[in-house]
Amino acid sequence: MTAYNKRRVWLCSICLTPFVVVVLLATAWAESNIQVNVKTVLASQDEAYIDPALSAVVKELESLFRYSSYRLLSEDRLNLALKKTGSVNLPGERVLMITPTGIQADRVEMKLVILRKNSQVFETVIQLLNRGSIIVGGPKHQNGSLLFSISASY
């Protein structure tokens, strides 16, 4: 190989290396940690109020539910490794437990469990789209219903 061709190969390698490194790092990071965000919302018909932090979500819920008020009660962020369980305290002596169990294609498989007074009332296993979210709702609280917007990214 001539000196000129060696320099071309060297330059091509330099230009492609950052891209390869970024992809490898992103893949490695993705397989090691799942960022989970849980928003606890109280939906009711007592008042007309929409929390500014929920405007994007409420816009879609208004077409499905007749609630006039959506109030953000709390927001929790978890950083979970696979097979590790994180918990979020919910109103009404409830606890939400989240366990990522695996990653398949562009979805993360997670087990969601809701305990109320230490008794399991709800369990589901879902495959959540990367940077997607699911809304779990229905438990009664005060004069409305609780709903939990659970999103995950990796």
Partner: protein, 169 residues
């Protein structure tokens, strides 16, 4: 006057000067030159020119520079720009636009692919969540999907002490 060496012939005089005549012709020319003023003048003029030319050649050869001659010859030969073989010149040469097209295109394709998979603006066409299993102490459960973003909604009603219809729907 007999034609030939004994007669006035400037060409023969020049040949005589260059020693190209035979011995007999040379002897005849010697006798002719003794009596012919005109041929003697031609011979002297020729000898003078030869001497001047020789002197000039000797001077040129004595003062000639082979390096200068080489450069002069090479300057007449059309050449391409010499390739840099070291340092910044080599890097600049290697980084010319022609050499950068392929790696730049590869990098651009890589960036596009990266953001097509990791872009936050990527709108899904499938439901955000697939429900593999569901277990609950509940009297009713609904699985909905929002029309625009296909966000999955799992709505259930707790059974313990929370009976009744769901007034929100």
């Amino acid at each position: 006057m007999k034609a030939g060496v004994g007669s006035c012939n400037p060409d023969l005089v020049m040949r005589y000067m260059d020693q190209e005549l035979s011995a007999q012709e040379r002897a005849e020319m010697d006798r002719h030159l003794e009596s012919c003023t005109r041929c003697r003048e031609v011979l002297q003029e020729g000898q003078r020119l030869c001497a001047a030319f020789q002197k000039s050649m000797d001077h040129a050869v004595g003062t000639a520079s082979l390096d200068r001659i080489e450069h002069a010859v090479l300057a007449r030969i059309p050449t391409q720009a010499p390739k840099q073989t070291n340092g910044a010149g080599a890097l600049v040469g290697a980084l010319s636009w022609k050499n950068a097209i392929v790696p730049a295109a590869a990098l651009a394709v890589g960036v596009v692919l990266f953001f097509s998979f990791f872009s936050p603006f990527h709108k899904p066409l499938e439901p955000s969540a697939i429900i593999n299993s569901f277990t609950a102490e509940t009297s009713s459960v609904m699985i909905l999907e929002t029309p625009e973003t296909h966000r999955t909604i799992l709505w259930f009603e707790e059974k313990q002490g929370q009976g009744g219809e769901n007034d929100g729907i």
